[in-house]
Subunit: 685 residues, 2 copies
């Protein structure tokens, strides 16, 4: 306690930097950084434990700016405390190829833990980070070795609190009793449309108490630095509940327009910045000025962090002596590497093995690998028995007091909260010690679309176990049958969408998903049984696409995925026996992976000279990229036994043969048929 004039100067430096940077960029959000500068200073300067020279130190406190539009606050802090973010980077705010983009991006900027901006995501990521901390400390801490004891701090605004994803994650955080999570609500009563009384009049603290959170209030977030510090310390003391601190602030504090929505998303005018600098004792003629004593004050705090890491390193070295295997395991995990030889545990199949639903094949993979990949942690959005995401004997990740599990548990009961689950997985992955997966029906991964695209953008390794992947789910009907879903996710950059056709392809999907350190995956899995295919191997399938069934003199290539591949194999017989047409079959379990294979390989799979037909029971959108003709379902499905539904839409050997014949006929007069693999120019990727 006890704040000096230098503290106040540091706070005002943040405000002035935010005003300067947004004015310079002629774009951005000065209001929240100016209003939250005091709490940011208290938290970073007096409380948080971090080392700017090593932003990846395991036991650092995590800081999440859920109201990511306020990123000039975070960039200012990163700069002041000595992260690799220079004043020139601040000047480049919101300009092309800078490390200071319009919203914080974790993969580009040192010190940014998670990518935020889309509202509600950051606080949900923070729940994931806190869960990861709880699990990692329960797993690795030993008597005398409190290796992992960091907190997760999160700033969030009214917008984050209105978004459903934060409700989902917050409810779960309360259930999980995450005492290591401290969220600070920027209660400035302003959103873009104006006063929050237009749409947001609920009692937020009461709601969070209903979730099982501890709540606190600081009435003067601009001046009561002692109060802020006291509240955060009080929050730290509550070990069995996350805390929400309601911090009343004035948006754009210091501006002539403070307290209005005019300062939310537009730079201050020149005369306003002038008076701001004069009021705070800055030279109005200077921009991006940081007083040396402010740097000194911040670097002092950073030095304490560096010292703390040094102390921790010594502790960790001792830990290595006593707990070598745990130490080595942790070191390995932090590199993102899997244990050597883990892949030998992947199941391999031959055509003699019985037909099994690919969701069940996925369950077999999980049962085989959970023991050799201890960082694997996952669960389901209340569809465990359908997604088959739980290995035998798994311990649930639960507060011990529930009697249902403990924090070493690796099975998460997410509840019916797909979007929250997606955002939490992003947080779990960002922590550094875990490899998360989550199950739901493929159709309901769409509920989490906001989190899914951020997995891709922030380059984290998360895995969706997306079962019931088509009209093949049958009776549940069109409300549950994906049509647009694969097209949607295939269109996301840096996202692998897998749709394996059998056991070997399922193993391949997991192999690539687990070993791709910077790419998330969605594995689409069938409810219905699928035979083990002749010609499928893990080695072939990990290329994303391959020739499953070759045929000399073939007149057509059938290209398919997942549960339709085996029907294509039957169609080959139908075509040969009844129509004297020779067909070959290509399986493309993952277009994203196939796309990056060498062109000559891709052309060997989808060659020139013969026409091709894609077969997949959902939207054909996108298959034109690989095939000349497309058989799919550009309408909603139907409720009924799955075989009846497949028959209704003619996804039968006969239905495929009919369209294959039409394809051969339609292309017979075209000389030198060109494979769609051939392109006039390279795409920007």
């Amino acid at each position: 306690m006890g704040y000096s004039d230098t503290d106040k100067l540091a706070i005002n430096t943040i405000r002035v930097l935010a005003a300067d940077a947004t004015a310079h960029a002629n774009s951005g959000h000065p209001g929240a950084p100016m209003g939250m500068a005091p709490v940011a200073h208290v938290l970073w300067n007096k409380i948080m434990k971090f080392n700017p020279k090593n932003p990846k130190w395991l036991n650092r406190d995590r800081f999440v700016l859920s109201n990511g539009h306020a990123c000039m606050l975070q960039y200012a802090l990163l700069h002041l405390y000595g992260y690799a973010l220079s004043i020139d980077d601040i000047k480049a705010f919101r300009s092309v190829d800078s490390i200071t983009p319009g919203h914080p991006e974790a993969h580009d900027t040192p010190g940014i833990e998670v990518t935020t901006g889309p509202l509600g995501q950051g606080i949900s990521n923070a729940v994931g980070l806190a869960m990861a901390q709880a699990h990692t400390s329960a797993t690795f801490n030993k008597p005398g070795f409190e290796l992992v004891n960091n907190y997760t701090y999160c700033f969030l605004g009214d917008g984050c609190l209105m978004e459903g994803v934060s409700s989902e994650a917050s409810s779960l955080a309360g259930h999980l009793q995450l005492g290591n999570l401290i969220a600070i609500w920027d209660d400035n009563h302003i959103t873009i449309d104006g006063d929050t009384n237009q749409a947001f009049t609920e009692d937020v603290l009461k709601r969070y108490e209903a979730y099982g959170w501890h709540t606190l209030t600081v009435g003067d977030g601009e001046n009561d630095l002692d109060g802020i510090e006291a509240a955060i310390k009080k929050a730290q003391e509550v070990k069995d509940k996350p805390t929400l601190i309601r911090l009343t602030t004035i948006i754009g504090y210091g501006s002539k327009l403070q307290g209005t929505h005019s300062v939310h998303g537009s730079p201050l005018k020149a005369d306003d910045i002038k008076q701001l600098k004069e009021k705070f004792g800055f030279n109005p003629e200077e921009s991006f000025a940081v007083p040396q004593e402010v740097y000194d004050l911040c670097h002092q705090a950073a030095s304490r962090g560096a010292a703390a890491e040094e102390e921790w390193n010594q502790l960790f070295a001792k830990y290595a002596e006593q707990y070598k295997s745990e130490h080595d395991d942790l070191v390995r995990r932090l590199k993102g590497d899997l244990p050597e030889g883990w892949e030998k545990s992947l199941p391999v199949y031959t055509p003699a093995d019985p037909a099994v639903a690919s969701r069940k094949l996925s369950e077999t993979v999980l049962n085989k690998i959970y023991g050799v990949i201890p960082e694997l942690i996952g669960g389901s959005a209340d569809l465990t028995g359908s997604n088959l995401t739980r290995w035998k004997g798994a311990i649930d990740f639960q507060p011990p007091s529930t009697g249902l599990g403990d924090y070493t548990g690796r099975y998460i009961r997410f509840g019916v909260r797909e979007h929250g689950m997606g955002a939490i997985m992003n947080g779990l992955a960002a922590y550094g010690t875990l490899l998360p997966y989550g199950g739901t029906f493929l159709n309901f991964v769409s509920y989490a679309a906001g989190a899914v695209r951020l997995s891709s953008l922030s380059q984290v390794r998360t895995i969706w176990v997306a079962t019931h992947d088509s009209i093949g789910l049958g009776e549940d009907g069109p409300t549950h049958q994906p049509i647009e879903t694969l097209a949607h996710f295939r269109a996301i950059p840096n996202m692998m969408v897998w749709r394996p056709a059998d056991g070997n392809e399922t193993s391949a999907a997991y192999y690539v998903a687990l070993t791709s350190k910077h790419t998330p995956s969605i594995i689409a899995l069938s409810r219905q049984n699928l035979p083990q295919l002749e010609g499928s191997t893990i080695e072939r399938a990990i290329k994303g696409g391959y020739v499953l069934h070759e045929q000399e003199g073939a007149q057509i290539t059938l290209v398919s995925t997942g549960s339709e591949v085996c029907i294509c194999i039957d169609a080959v017989k139908e075509l040969a026996e009844k129509h004297n047409i020779k067909a070959r079959v290509v399986s493309i379990p993952c277009t994203e992976v196939f796309d990056v294979q060498p062109k000559d390989y891709r052309l060997s799979v989808l060659p020139d000279g013969i026409p091709s037909l894609s077969v997949e029971v959902m939207s054909t959108l996108g298959w034109e990229r690989y095939t000349h003709e497309q058989f799919g379902l550009n309408r909603f499905g139907a409720s009924g036994a799955y075989k009846d539904v497949y028959k209704k839409f003619e996804f039968t050997p006969e239905g495929i043969a009919k369209r294959a014949i039409a394809t051969v006929d339609f292309w017979k007069d075209v000389p030198n048929i060109r494979s769609p693999i051939n392109r006039a120019f390279q795409q920007i990727i």
Copy 2:
């Protein structure tokens, strides 16, 4: 009050029908129907006002089954009360082409108000239905003419309460003081994974009180029929708050496995059904048996509803005499027709008009048409000033006590709640008197993906005003720049995705969106200014795609949408002047609409004989359907001034020309180039 043995028999009939139907289908959810049969009976038999012979009567009470998997409950009720749903339809439960699919679908089954099953949607639709009621009554009721005074009743389960979309909609419902909304929570303590204590231990009633709801509890939902009735009547009396009734039930009541998750989603075994029937006095040898006195009891209630409608019809006839224009307006709205001549209000542009952002052009449309289309009601998810969704002088839809508007208001402050907004729009549209629109950034329509696909499936007319539609939004950066978004929504059946290039195309988009009674639309609009194009007209654009710039002897067709069309026009000049290449330009503002034009028209737009190149600044996925080559962005964008971002990715006349040259070159040796419009066979649509 006072329930007879026949009431109990009616309740048990529902239970037995649910058991029989799920057993017969060998699929489905018997548990919730059996547990909720008592409250369903009380509500439908003693309280709700409806006429099964006219499921579209305006002033009927609305019933929403948010836990849609319990649909055998609703089908049983529809059958017992005399809707056009026979016992054979019940027997056809979950079979192909039945009107009793696995989850309730509004467009197919009489008496189903909204399509439910995806959890959290129904309760959010119910908020929309209640808002529509509040608005319609405030607008049309007159002294002595309480034309519209219906309630909206909604059943929901734990799953619905966990989903974020319901949190969003419920918070807004509390703010809006919707006393006409009564929700009944099936508190059976069971979800698919087992006891709710695994993931859902929040205090739900406290949370709803925090939202501003009135809450009630009925402790014995299986036997306390008087208590249920009293609670609903008490809820009706609270006029300024929605009510949530916590009704404790026993899932699968009557089954040997009652109270366990085994009865949630699997049919009862034969011996269990046998003992159930014996216990309830049914013949265990009979299936689908309905005692005549149960039909009689239910038909009596239905008759009361028919009489109520008859009385209402007389009131409405008198209303016609005193308030002819209001009467005619209401009759017209209920048919889904727009006022005659409304389209004359659509703005028309010439190339002499200034360049304007299409979000601004959209604002102009709204300002021109709001006066002539009184059923138009809409708002924004807290981005009013960015989406430009509010016409000048609009009154906000608000409880009068807030002093911010009243219930006749047609501008809705949705708050930062995109998914809630989407689901609420579905409810607003389903009510029958309104035509809703909602604004957000295109990228955040994805947050509402769950509701968006249900708009399409349930065939309602909703309009998304989706601004900031590309990397052209500039500085906000990749977190806000759509890449996969258009591919996602274009892949949804029965969804129009519009991306207008200028003023006339914006008017065309609104024209088709507003006049398509059974199809929702997403209108993607630019942040940046766009010139008014030579060659664009409303008449051409309403075909979804047209030749904007024809060119004799053209060597390439440039195909584009939205903000890239004008760059293509510049590329034509670049190609002609610097490279001696003749290019024509096609604008396809809406592929869904273009696809249903006659083939000869489509071939005239995208003819055989020359290659084509699509140009759109996002994922190219799907453009292979229309063009030979594709220029797009299969990676995330960048934060910076929009012109810098366009330049970075070469979306300039020069960048397009470069790829056009490559395209011409690549296709020059191919004889008889075939337009992608030509297909070997018809798709299933």
